[in-house]
Amino acid sequence: MTVTAEKQRSFSLARSRAVIQWLAVIGTFLIGLRHIMPGEASRGGSFDSFCAFGGIETLLPYLFNGHVLKSTNLLNFSVLLGALGVSLVAGRAFCGWLCPLGAVQDLIAGWTRKLSGEPHHVRGRQSKTILPLRLPVIVDRPLRYTKYLALAVILIASLYMAFPPLREFCPVRAVFGLHMTALLWITLVVFLAGSVFVERFWCKYLCPLGAALAIFNKISPVRLVMDNNHCNNCGRCDIECSMDIADVPHQLDHPECVRCMECLETCARDGSLELKIGRR
């Protein structure tokens, strides 16, 4: 094997993703920590103002009423632009790579597998553990639309509210905010329990930001392409898909895909899945 080929093999997308996700988690935790420090109010910018979804929540009040909602500020739009930029380039990759909540859910799923009796997960092999569950299609499919409904309700509610509508139920505040209320404690319990039972529970069923970014999977230029001549439909990628997309090789532009690239990492046949730019 040549040195280049060896270097090529030593690179791991999964490892790179884990590093970026840990940085997102630590960064968000530090933002939360900063906001329980004395004198935080005088520095400008609440914890909420670092949230990409805060930009969506405060967008309509800003456009129609000329002001942002309380606890948000213009920084929300910059962070939202960052998330939209990633989505314009690579679809819902923000969810799969940069969202701290997605990272926490991936961590919980990993720990759940370990505690359920699978200390070392073998990539591409069906897990024998009970948890995390894969909900039956008849339950799973309608639940997936909940996040779109949540997005619509939040957008409408944002026009009539002083604070962001999701604020009291926001899992990011519950996990990282360090300013807990009774509602946030309930949110935290539901989020943690949901993530133990279903992998990426929040992303699949409830995340309104994911709902807003889903459309970009259809138009983003950087995407995976399947080569029919190489893929033998072995199903290894289906097993590794954290969003439980069925028949991954034929659903590479699926709105539920978070572009985590676990399918590409798992694929054992060179050339079956390739990362490309452009529609051809």
């Binding site: 997308l13 942002v68 500020n73 930029g85 990759a93 923000f94």
Partner: protein, 48 residues
């Protein structure tokens, strides 16, 4: 055009940083002490 997967993380990080900085510096979407900022509105008003 095929992309080497090793560049994928860098593509994401650069896209995030560039677009966020565009918002921050070009559109003026940055924290305001009184939380009543008018970044984009100011630019639109200036253009019109």
């Amino acid at each position: 055009m095929k992309i080497n997967p090793r560049y994928y993380p860098a593509i994401l990080l650069i896209a995030f940083a560039v677009f966020m900085l565009i918002g921050f510096f070009i559109f003026g979407f940055r924290p305001q002490h009184n939380e009543e900022g008018r970044g984009l509105l100011l630019i639109i008003e200036a253009l019109i």
